[in-house]
Each structure stands twice: as structure tokens, then as C-alpha cells.
């Protein structure tokens, strides 16, 4: 490799997959909302399964840029994987912190209005953190 140029400072968002949990769906949807609508030019998605399987570009990005991990449960898979392969997580979010009671989430494959509200709150929290991180980095 002769040349290696970094380009554009962005925040990488690493979401868990959360197959067995509605919180996993919320983590994923909130992340996508930030990536595609709220902060499309300030963020990049790090695909967690690719990242763990050895995705060179994703791992290099996470090493050289600030990252926000979004997890659905106490297993903190996204946070652990990012720490393992990139050494640091700038900020960690757990969807469970946004849920007032365990009754809030019932159906794992489709979300009702309350679930969508939680998704929006998580997306807002991610966006606020993105702004804070970029402001801090650009001082």
C-alpha cells in the first residue's frame, strides 16, 4: 500500500442486530433514522456483522473516527465488539434506558405507536450526541 488518505470527519454508528428482542428492532430503526434522515452527512453506518467478520474498511473507520454504539440489551454486543476491534467507544447508548417498563415492548417483529415513540427518542439522543462529538472534535 503506497498511499492512505483520510477523508472527512464523521461519526460511525454501530447498532446491534437484536434478533430476539424488540429493543433490537428499535436500535436498528433509530440508527437508520439518524443515518438517512437526521444526520446523513455527519454519520456512517458500521455494519456490525461485517465488522466482526473482519470488514477492513469498517474496522479502519472505527479506529480513526469517533463511534456511537447502540445496544438493545445488557449484553452490549455492539459496544463490546467496537471496543475489541477498535479500542474505544466515544459514546454508548442502551435502548433499555429509554423504556419505562418491561410492558412497553411486546411484539418483536412489528412496533406499535409507543415503540415508535421510543425509537424517535433514541434517534434524537443519537443525533444530539453526534452534534456534541463533532463540535468537540472540531474545536
Amino acid at each position: 500500500m503506497e498511499e492512505n488518505e483520510k477523508k472527512i470527519s464523521k461519526v460511525g454508528i454501530v447498532s446491534c442486530s437484536g434478533e430476539d428482542l424488540p429493543e433490537g428492532s428499535i436500535s436498528r430503526l433509530a440508527t437508520l433514522d439518524v443515518l438517512h434522515h437526521k444526520k446523513p452527512f455527519d454519520t456512517t453506518t458500521i455494519c456490525l456483522p461485517l465488522y466482526v467478520a473482519g470488514g477492513e474498511g469498517d474496522r479502519m473507520f472505527a479506529k480513526n473516527h469517533p463511534t456511537i454504539t447502540v445496544d438493545g440489551c445488557e449484553k452490549l454486543c455492539a459496544k463490546k465488539a467496537t471496543e475489541k476491534y477498535s479500542g474505544k467507544v466515544t459514546h454508548s447508548i442502551n435502548v433499555r434506558d429509554f423504556i419505562k417498563s418491561s410492558d412497553d415492548l411486546k411484539n418483536k417483529s412489528s412496533l406499535n405507536e409507543d415503540d415508535k415513540r421510543i425509537t424517535a427518542e433514541v434517534a434524537d439522543a443519537i443525533s444530539i450526541k453526534v452534534d456534541e462529538i463533532l463540535k468537540e472534535n472540531n474545536k
Binding site: 498511499e3 452527512f41 456512517t44 479502519m60
Partner: protein
């Protein structure tokens, strides 16, 4: 194979040294009068996961700057533009059966066709060497980079 790399966000764009490049996405490696042709790393990253590859048959004449087949990805259907003129001598069956090779190994196992070329020298004036192509690709990435990874 020796490469130059340009990193943009989480994307690593590889440019293979020692071969030639056409602005519309194909590379060509010349060995005597045989040209091996494939698509660049930039092309496969920009256009996405390849689902199907369709190529003109063996014995068919191809013309520089004109189509010799097309690639269908999950995002788009894109014409393959010939970097040189010649006659198709061989096409890569492996890539037809496993089009994902175009994504995973665009400069190696993901090659598309071999063509017999009569006059590479004049074709070469319309091609870029790897250094020129690197700069061309870098400018394109900087221009289109914001759309990368958005599906």
C-alpha cells in the same frame, strides 16, 4: 498484485498498478495481443452487489467506448463499456456463475473477458495509467462520496 489505495469514510478504493483504465469503469491488462478486461474497484463499490453479469459471446467484435455487456446489481443495471477494440476470445464462466466475484475480487478472479487486440497502441491514447486513474477516481469519489453506502 500491487495497489494504491484511497480511503473515503469506511470505503477503501483500490487501484491496481501496472494496468490501464477506461473512464467508464473497466480496466485492461495487455499481454502480447491479448487484453484481459474487468471492472474497477470503484465501479463495484459505486454500483453495489452484483446479481447478474451478461456478456457478448466469444468471437464477437467489441469496440472501444461501446458496450460489451451489462451488469445488474441490487441498485442499478449498468452497461459495460469496452476499454479497447478487439474480438472476444474468452469470457469468464466463473464470474457468470458467481457474479459476487466482481465485488470480492474485481482485479483478479472477477475478470470478465479476454479479447484479441490488433492495435493497443492507438487504443492506449484513450486510456489512463494507474497514476492518472488514481487521480481521476479520487476526484470522482470526492464528488460522489456523500452518496456512497446510501441504499
Amino acid at each position: 498484485m500491487d495497489y494504491r489505495e484511497y480511503i473515503y469514510d469506511k470505503f477503501i478504493f483500490k487501484v491496481r498498478k501496472g494496468i490501464y483504465y477506461h473512464k467508464d469503469g473497466c480496466w485492461v491488462e495487455i499481454d502480447g495481443n491479448v487484453a484481459t478486461i474487468g471492472v474497477t474497484d470503484f465501479f463495484q463499490i459505486l454500483n453495489g452487489d452484483v446479481a447478474n453479469v451478461s456478456l457478448f459471446g466469444d468471437g464477437v467484435n467489441i469496440k472501444q467506448d461501446e458496450a460489451f455487456g451489462d451488469i445488474e446489481t441490487m441498485k442499478v443495471s449498468v452497461e459495460l463499456i469496452a476499454p479497447v477494440s478487439g474480438k472476444i476470445a474468452e469470457h469468464n464462466d466463473k464470474t457468470i456463475d458467481m457474479p459476487e466475484l466482481v465485488n470480492s475480487d474485481p482485479y483478479g478472479d472477477g475478470w470478465l473477458i479476454k479479447a484479441e487486440v490488433k492495435d493497443f497502441e492507438s487504443a492506449g491514447t484513450n486510456l489512463m495509467d494507474s497514476d492518472k486513474y488514481f487521480n481521476y477516481m479520487k476526484a470522482r469519489v470526492d464528488e460522489e462520496g456523500k452518496e456512497l453506502g446510501k441504499e
